[in-house]
Point group: C2
Chain length 588, copies 2
């Protein structure tokens, strides 16, 4: 096996072209096997094997510096830079992250997981090189889908101003996770269709030199192109056309489904299907379809990642003009939907918690300041064992401290539906709903709460001495804690479902003072700047004691959620310990 001989990029430089092609085939097999075993990004990694080999063959990493965008296409890079065991040895599959990670290797410059960052970062790397009077190539590798993000576009505008070496490799596989959208993509089309010769050339208008490589999965052609731009003294774009999913027929055919796959996907006889069971995604989709049919101004919007919301190609097609995927462009998505809402349409914006933070100013200025009645659904919010680049525990402090936005945390199907209806029928405020990130629960009883009454918490059980506020995903934990307290401390605690993240029910909290000594808050996100601290501040001038439970301000990296719960004391037994200590009570 040729890979046996490769321990760092220098070893690659000794290979013949035939050997490199054989190596590509070997690595492709390892990628497929690993991803099918533990899950991960398949399509992007299969498409970039040859380009990665060619880059490492032509350039001298880490003296020459390669900056990856998103970095979900770095598997070949990892194999070539001393980390092949993470792919060849199944017992070490989890040893390395799925993204570039400087702590693993000098060949990885940044910890990256969100898109559209590479050009800006590479511009800084190049400028530092120039200031230090050093030499060397700086290469940004960016996918076509990532180009539409504001940071990438700002970066391109500025990179073009560099008066020194800077090589931007545009990996054009003709799609983002799903298909691309926007004028830029029509230009990429035109460039591909003219072998890079089209008169209109987005990159040239910005001042870049430009080179097109039609065969972006051909090692020889790529080496030729990279040699041509190596040591360039000004910014240049190398536009390479690659095949997403290359080498695996199913992935080549169905690029969207095979962008990221679950373990075992390739062993199934049929192509992956969304589970037919009812869940929050299916409820949401049914809600949208129902309203879209009776009201032509209803429109579902997202900024890439439609799969997160279960927006299948069929669903998107059914909505037609009543659906917009703006592509990776979260800032635009918020401003666009705010204007839609302000103009009397009924937009529903869908966004993953980790990506909400790509658009704070638009949430504040375009949306909240204008009080546009947008409905925004935030997905996957909560403490998780995810990679540090994809944490979803910051959305509550972020959205929660912006004026005018009502941020709601339902705990079951009926509440979720009632909140959706409320948001959809009101014209006063932007309403965000944190879609529960727990298995669907249903009470079977319609929720008739009037959510236009702001910050009205719901008392689920009236007890005394201790009140437990279980927000959203953690309402069930609050129920468990109540049981634990009852059993171990013989206290009949009050159980509260706050529902509102963005405000506090002062009347209710005031009333608790009469027959309660302790309030416990539970929130599925970081504590800092979140929900519980506001309760603590409210009670600051009283003798009420408050215990806030939630995540710590940190970037845990693939730490199992059970371990995080233990660290944050988010377990009924640990909470009981803290309660007992605070009340100076012994457990029964």
């Amino acid at each position: 096996m040729i890979l046996d001989k490769i321990n760092n990029p220098d070893d690659l430089k000794k290979l013949s072209l035939d050997e490199m092609n054989a190596l590509a085939a070997e690595m492709r097999e390892f990628i497929i096997k690993k991803v099918n075993t533990i899950g991960g990004h398949l399509g992007p990694n299969l498409g970039i094997v040859e380009a990665t080999i060619a880059m490492h063959y032509v350039f001298n990493s880490p003296v020459d510096k390669i900056v990856y965008d998103v970095s979900h296409q770095c598997y070949t890079h990892k194999m070539l830079t001393g980390r092949k065991e993470g792919f060849t040895d199944s017992s070490k599959y989890l040893k390395y992250t799925g993204y570039t990670a400087p702590e693993e290797s000098a060949h990885d410059l940044f910890k990256v997981g969100h898109t559209s960052t590479s050009v800006s970062l590479a511009t800084g790397v190049a400028k530092a090189r120039d200031l230090k009077g050093e030499k060397g190539n700086v290469i940004a590798l960016i996918g076509d889908g990532s180009l539409s993000g504001g940071e990438a576009l700002e970066g391109l505008d500025n990179a073009a101003d560099l008066n020194s070496n800077m090589i931007i490799v545009v990996n054009d596989n003709e799609m983002s996770i799903a298909e691309n959208h926007g004028g830029l993509y029509k230009n990429l089309d035109e460039l591909r269709n003219t072998n890079g010769q089209a008169q209109n050339n987005f990159f040239k208008t910005l001042g870049f030199d430009y080179l097109y490589v039609a065969e972006g999965n051909n090692v020889e052609k790529l080496i030729e192109a990279f040699k041509q731009v190596k040591d360039s003294t000004h910014p240049v774009v190398v536009h390479i056309r690659t095949l997403k999913g290359k080498g695996l027929e199913a992935a080549e055919q169905n690029k969207e489904a095979f962008h990221w796959i679950l373990p075992g996907t390739l062993d199934k006889k049929e192509e992956p299907q969304a589970t037919p069971a009812e869940d929050y995604n299916s409820i949401t989709k049914n809600f949208i379809l129902k309203h879209a049919k009776s009201d032509k101004t209803v429109i579902a919007v997202n900024a890439g990642t439609p799969g997160v919301f279960g927006f299948t190609p069929d669903f998107r097609k059914e909505l037609g003009a009543q659906y917009t995927d703006v592509g990776i462009a979260e800032e635009h998505a918020v401003a666009y939907t705010s204007a839609l809402a302000k103009s009397g349409a009924k937009p529903i914006l869908h966004i993953m918690s980790s990506f909400v933070q790509r658009t704070y100013d638009q949430l504040s200025q375009d949306l909240a300041l204008n009080n546009s009645p947008l409905t925004m659904l935030v997905y996957w919010g909560g403490i998780s064992g995810a990679d540090a680049t994809h944490l979803c525990s910051f959305d509550m402090p972020l959205i929660g401290n912006i004026p005018n936005i009502v941020y709601l945390a339902p705990t079951n199907k009926e509440e979720y539906l009632a909140m959706l209806e409320y948001s959809f029928n009101q014209t006063e405020h932007p309403v965000a709903i944190r879609v529960p990130n727990i298995p669907l629960e249903s009470t079977g009883v319609e929720d008739k709460t009037d959510y236009s009454i702001p910050n009205k918490f719901k008392v689920e059980h009236k007890g005394k001495k201790i009140a437990i506020l279980g927000l959203g995903n953690f309402f069930n934990l609050a129920k468990d804690v109540r049981e634990e307290i009852k059993e171990k401390l013989s206290i009949d605690a009050t159980l509260i479902n706050p529902k509102f993240i963005t405000g506090i029910d002062e009347e209710l909290l005031e009333n608790l003072k009469k027959d309660h000594d302790l309030v416990i808050t539970l929130e599925d996100g970081i504590l800092n700047g979140g929900f519980g601290e506001k309760i603590a501040s409210f009670y600051g001038n009283s003798s009420m004691k408050v215990l806030n439970f939630g995540g710590k301000k940190e970037f845990p990296d693939r730490v199992p959620v059970a371990q995080l719960y233990e660290r944050y004391r988010l377990r009924k037994d640990l909470i009981l310990e803290d309660v007992s200590k605070t009340l100076e009570l012994a457990t029964v």
Copy 2:
């Protein structure tokens, strides 16, 4: 006077070309007189007079919808849409805001003050029109300087995809507040120099139809152009070349200084000069120059608005390659400087509090997650009487809840310098410093604090019973409150200068429990998600009482700061009342 006859845009349509030209001259005089009286945006408004007249002559606002970018160029628009008294009657100068404001007029679609929003918003307006089956033109008016912002670029990419009417007027006055930077601007140059005929055309590559108007201050030519694109059935860019400061020689000559002026500027014999007295800006500039001379990797960076930091053209020239203004591109600015820092250079990023929020994801992912040792200076932070679009009271919750960033709040010159030196010489963390937004104070004694010890608060006076934590700008208020408490309650309170916004000194707070009953926190920003709530949460399990003082989560619009201080009880007498009530003490 022709303006007498103009009460709405319909009246304009009855005028002859000569009358419109005369009207332009009249309005220009009113703008100059008003801005010289109360201060405001001068250059941008003078440059757009003719284009505004032509737009309202050709289009039918508010059926046709004009979306302004930044909207600091809306004065002529306001005069033409029923609000001329705000310019002709000096007693009503303050009646209308300096930005578009839907509450004032149906001709204003959005409350806007930050840049780069118009194209995205207009795309939403156009899409709502299409969904509703309505007709009409949607026009976005955007300055060349605003084009470089990520939201504008995302918006352009998406707007080009609209299959219906959308007119983007690019008001090209060849500069942002200061000069422009980036590849895009070289293309605008090329387009101007070729009368719009250059082969490389940024807008055409995105798919827009394109029309160039060389005489962007010629009403007749503009009317002709707008008539040509009116009712266009697809997205079109009208690129107009205007003269910033048009009609006022000083403003035409010195576009940067006359972008926004203070009252009375035009009455002075010489052009406005930076005050020579020492202040935080001059201290910062001296710090940068000193280090830049001895270390070629020191580099000052900002994203537009160099005037906020006192970065005069001379200063910028002196730094040469050790200075980058990335233009309006805050996301790029953070990623770029993070990469500079990670690559061993010494960047200092300068940003105004209100614009920090344009780059949350980059602060979190590109910067904090990578722990790049960037020095970031945040200016103008604090509760102010500013327009709702330019509030500076949200930076502490925003930055303060991101892991890894150390956010510091100095209270005087010596602390500020010591923090700058600390930040500059460490390689562990991103360090942000909230530049004091109060007159310079100096102790005359060098601050030798070791700021590498995290979250170490400074006890300025050790007393008992009550401890007052005065953060940054509000340290002086804390001193006053201490005096008031001493005088009125005969209590010798403890005075603490926290210095660290991003963490709490648990040891010190724990110790306070021994001989204190009440902790007061004072912060110059909104309370929600800020500093004080964390102190309240810390003491939640104890009998320590906590009173948090700071701003409320809201968007106050030009409310005098004294009134806000009263509303938020940020006065020593009001704080004393709350303290007395909490301690159940009568005042002496």
